[in-house]
Each structure stands twice: as C-alpha cells, then as structure tokens.
C-alpha cells in the first residue's frame, strides 16, 4: 500500500477515470475514440482490483491475477476491434458511428 494515501483517494481517482471513460464512450462519434474510452473504463476497473487486493487482502493475489487477465482480454479485444475497424474502413471508407447504423430501422 501507498503510505499516507488512503484507499478512498485512490478509489476516487478511479471512479473519476471510469466516468470520464463513460462520458467518452457515449459522446464520441468515432469507433477508435470509443475504443479509447473503453480502455479508460477497463483501466479504471483494473486499478480497483489491484488496489483492493493490496489494501484489504494483502496476502492474496487474486486481484493481481485478474488484472493480468483483464489486460490480456483487453489486448485481444483491441486487436479484434482494430481489425474490425480496418475491415469496415475497407468496406465503407469510414469509421464514423453514423455510417454504421444499418441495424437501425
């Protein structure tokens, strides 16, 4: 744990990060920007895992291990997302959300 820093402060920061990510996810109109926002959200939660592991159950490692998994999954997800984005760009020359709305109506 970090000396002089309480768990509250860290959780505050991660919450802020999380909501910034949410804000981005909702307002951005570009697939890549949305991906970036998702990364923010994921990271905020990863920090929570780690911090709670460290502060509350220091003799366990579950939080850390889960963080690793999350990072791995995030990596896989990013790879897939990027490939989808590129594929999409080939098809419609755009990665704007509004151009991918064929599901609507």
């Amino acid at each position: 744990m970090i000396p002089e820093i309480s768990i509250y402060e860290i959780l505050t920061v991660t919450s802020i990060l999380f909501f910034i990510g949410v804000y981005g996810f909702i307002t951005r109109k570009n697939l890549i920007s949305i991906l970036i926002s998702v990364e923010l959200i994921l990271n905020a939660s990863v920090i929570n895992f780690v911090v709670i592991n460290k502060y509350l159950y220091p003799d366990m490692l579950q939080g850390v291990v889960f963080s690793l998994f999350i990072i791995a999954v995030a990596a896989a997800e990013t790879a897939l997302a990027v490939s989808i984005i590129i594929g999409l760009y080939r098809q419609i020359s755009s990665v704007e959300v509004k151009d991918v709305e064929t599901m609507k109506h």
Partner: protein, 174 residues
C-alpha cells in the same frame, strides 16, 4: 513524498483522460491515453506491484497503443477533425456521469473499508506460481483459457482484416 507523487499522478491521469475523450484530433487523443496508461503504471509502482506495472507499460503502452495508432494512421488523415456530439447530449451525459460519480463517491465514502496496514512486496515468481497452480485457488484453467482466447483473437483479427480478399477470391474463381 508518496503522497505528492500520487497526487501528481492522479492529476496527470485525470487531465489527460479528459483531454483524451474531448480532443478533436484522433492521434492526440491516443497519445493522451498513453499518458493516462503510464500514470496508471505509476500507481502500480507506488503500491508495489512492479510486475503489473511492467505489464501495463509493455502491453498497454507498448502494444495496444501502438496498435491503435496504426489503425488511426491507416484510416485517418492526421489533420482530420473529429465530429463531436450535440451540446445537449454532452450536457446530458455530463450530468448523468457526474450524478453517477456522486453516487459512487458517496457510496465509497460511506463504507468502512477494513484496511490492513502492510508493506508486503509481491514478487513476480509469486504471481507466476499462482497463475500456474492447479491446487485450490490456482489459476491454471483461466490462464489456459486466456491463452486460447488470445490465439482465437489473433486468428480472428487476421481473418477479419483480410476478409475482403477471401470473398474476392470466392467471387472470382478465375
């Protein structure tokens, strides 16, 4: 000392996170994200998870960000400005995010965390042992699953990215 470092890191993260989700330049937005990720790595260092911090730096900052940058460069002109959402939507989102944040914080602050004072350092080998342990509380199965997932994602990514050509071939057998 740690306190100051933490606050600096927190400030960096928040500022760059905000910048990242509001910037109208794609590439900048990605670079700001990089700073945020580095800041997170810093936090990991602070709480003595060095291995995790290293992973964060290599996989995220090194891998994912590069991947995103590539994709940005592939599909965008660098100067291109991004569209932004309607002001009304921004405001609404902001309001609900702030409200949500408020709820989070109130919940967090009203909860008594049972903090255990400690300064244990976790070594990489401990993490490794845990990951590969197949006794109680071991993570060998998820570990394997993640491996398969990564493989599948890799294959999938390749196929999706190449998808057009495959169909082309089918369409034109000659």
């Amino acid at each position: 000392m740690e306190r100051i470092v933490f606050y600096i890191l927190a400030l960096i993260m928040i500022v760059f996170a905000v910048a990242s989700v509001t910037s109208r330049k794609m590439l900048r937005s990605v670079i700001y994200l990089l700073f945020v990720l580095c800041g997170i790595a810093g936090i990991y260092f602070l709480i003595d998870y060095n291995f995790l911090a290293a992973i964060q730096l290599t996989v995220y900052a090194g891998g994912i960000i590069v991947l995103i940058i590539f994709s940005v460069l592939l599909v965008h002109h660098i100067e291109m400005e991004l569209e932004i959402a309607k002001t009304s939507k921004q405001i609404l989102t902001t309001v609900s995010c702030l409200l949500g944040l408020g709820i989070f914080l109130i919940t967090i602050y009203s909860h008594e965390f049972n903090v255990i004072e400690n300064s244990l350092t976790t070594t990489t080998s401990e993490v490794g042992t845990k990951l590969l342990s197949y006794s109680d509380g071991g993570f060998i199965l998820p570990f394997e699953v993640i491996s398969v997932l990564l493989l599948a994602a890799m294959v999938g990514a390749i196929i999706i990215a190449k998808g057009n050509k495959l169909t082309d071939k089918k369409d034109n057998p000659a």
